[in-house]
């Protein structure tokens, strides 16, 4: 019986170890080779910080990184605002609630390439047919990413609304606040947790997006995704390894901090 248990545990550990190796070996390799000045991973080189120094000299990569962050921050802030207001509206809707929920889930379910084509055709329709002053580029990408991520904010805010005291809104109005003020000062604070997780989802989705971005970039605007994709087809600046390492470390740091904060809160609740 005991031998059976030992075999079970060994097999379990083996499965986990293999799967983790598959997930992490490529990343570890890149981290190690970010400190080696070889042109290709696996090539000969010496330990150095050259790639990190070069990273900050690569203007186009730096611009791409800047664009990624600007698009990510602005679009996810907008998405959080629009998504939260809409979630409240949809929650209180008397008619057409089902239809509204359905519409808001279209982009979540739809193939991203179809959404990308839609945005592509739309911006041309707006500028060529309606003669509106819109064009592809940074601003349009922010619009696209916002519309792409609003549904995820709605998804993460909606469950919180169900826990809300149903009379809260009327209470705010009875005390003399207008609808907008009630929404912002009474309802929003109750939804903060959902808003934060919605923002986080929107931000990560925006940072990771490729399909929509690729089809809707213009005027030479690139993000990390499209820059690295395009240069993988030609020759890739090895300092991308330094960038990957920095991003990996930032991701790890954010997750560790979030985990620690979560644990502290859990402890507080226990006390």
């Amino acid at each position: 019986m005991n031998a059976k248990k030992i075999i079970k545990l060994t097999v379990s550990w083996l499965i986990l170890a293999l799967a983790l190796a598959f997930m992490y070996l490529p990343l570890i390799l890149i981290v190690v080779y970010s400190f080696i000045d070889a042109r290709l991973v696996g090539g000969k080189g010496n330990f150095s910080f050259e790639l990190y120094a070069n990273l900050f000299k690569n203007q186009s990569l730096m611009t791409a990184a800047g664009n990624t962050i600007v698009i990510g921050l602005v679009s996810s802030l907008l998405a959080t605002l629009i998504g939260t207001v809409s979630a409240v509206g949809i929650y209180y809707m008397k008619r057409g609630k089902k239809a509204a929920n359905f519409v808001s889930q279209i982009t979540v379910v739809n193939a991203e390439i179809v959404t990308a084509v839609g945005f592509f055709l739309l911006v041309l329709f707006l500028s060529n047919t309606l003669r509106l002053p819109v064009q592809k580029g940074l601003g349009w990408l922010i619009v696209c990413h916002t519309m792409l991520t609003v549904p995820y904010v709605i998804l993460s805010v909606s469950p919180r609304l169900n826990q809300l005291n149903p009379n809260l809104f009327e209470a705010g109005q009875d005390l003399g606040a207008g609808p907008m003020r009630t929404l912002i000062t009474v309802i929003f604070p109750q939804l903060v947790k959902g808003m934060i997780s919605g923002f986080a989802i929107a931000f990560t989705l925006s940072l990771d997006d490729f399909v929509v971005t690729k089809m809707n970039t213009g005027n030479g605007v690139a993000t990390i995704s499209t820059y690295v994709y395009d240069s993988l087809k030609r020759t890739l600046d090895p300092s991308v390894r330094a960038l990957s390492t920095i991003i990996f470390v930032v991701v790890l740091a954010v997750l560790v901090v979030m985990n620690l904060v979560g644990k502290k809160k859990a402890k507080k609740i226990k006390k």
């Binding site: 983790l20 696996g42 629009i82 390439i113 739309l122 990771d208 399909v211 690295v228 990996f248």
Partner: protein, 274 residues
């Protein structure tokens, strides 16, 4: 009393307008372009091109094939891993489960670059199967998470009941644990199958010329004005496939939930009815 009459549903109004402009209308545009010839007149030519030109319909079939293979391999890897993670010995260590989703937060193009570097180092050249490895690498967490969640949240008294009644490990797994994890499997399959269908960056980077998919073709078609119609027709067909898969997934989930509740109605386990 006028204040009381305020309809809070009005807060959904701005988004409804935005959706009409940025979600519904673009889909209409796709439809319009799919039925529009180069001369601007109504035509079925674009669809005819998809269904008569082998390069087009074979590409759709190939994409479906790649999506199916990826989904199957993800399931084969993710299920044992999720099972181990959810087992009583390991489920106290949530950090282990977290380890599997951390890479998801890193830009996937950068991760593909990392994987390509590793594969090239061990002499695996860009090819069809390298592309499959890349797809599995990227989508594994999407399969793992729902299965893990369904296994962890499973009512353990079913398993105990099976053991009390003399069921062995294998029997308990196939008759209790596996059927109860089916909803997790279905949502995992949907979460992998749907995006693999439209992503083309991974197969492009790792597949060389062997693994081009429909998404990449659509992207290229929109690079040139003359081929927008064909691109829109392909997008429209993709949309139809997405709808079919989603409806099928919903029906299966509903059926399996019904089967589950029927089973629970028939057998009261541990005094609890689920």
């Amino acid at each position: 009393m006028k204040k009381r009459a305020f309809d809070k549903g009005i807060f959904a109004f701005p988004y409804m307008i935005l959706s009409a402009i940025f979600i519904i209308f673009p889909l209409v545009l796709v439809l319009v372009y799919a039925f529009r010839g180069v001369d601007g007149k109504f035509t079925f030519d674009n669809f005819a091109q998809v269904f008569t030109n082998p390069t087009n319909y074979m590409l759709i079939l190939k994409t479906i094939g790649i999506a199916l293979i990826t989904t199957a391999i993800c399931l084969l890897i993710a299920y044992p891993v999720a099972f181990v993670l959810a087992s009583s010995h390991f489920n106290k260590h949530t950090i282990l489960a977290l380890l599997f989703i951390i890479p998801m937060w890193m830009n996937f193009v950068l991760r593909m670059y990392a994987l390509q570097s590793l594969l090239n180092m061990i002499n695996v050249k860009d090819s069809f199967w390298a592309a499959i490895i890349g797809m599995v690498y990227d989508y594994l967490p999407f399969m793992l998470l729902p299965i893990y969640t369904s296994l962890v949240n499973m009512d353990k008294s079913y398993v105990e009941a099976s053991r009390d009644l003399g069921g062995g490990d294998v029997q308990t797994f196939f008759r209790i644990t596996f059927p109860l994890s089916v909803p997790g499997i279905i949502s995992g399959i949907l979460m992998v199958f749907m995006p693999t269908f439209s992503s083309y960056a991974i197969t492009d980077i790792l597949g060389g010329t062997e693994a081009s998919v429909i998404g990449g073709k659509i992207n290229t078609l929109f690079g040139e004005r003359l081929t927008w119609g064909l691109g829109s027709a392909l997008s429209f067909i993709l949309l139809v496939i997405v709808i079919v898969v989603m409806v099928a997934g919903n029906l299966i989930t509903r059926a399996s939930n019904k089967a589950k509740s029927d089973a629970a109605d028939n057998s009261i386990v541990g005094g609890r009815i689920r």
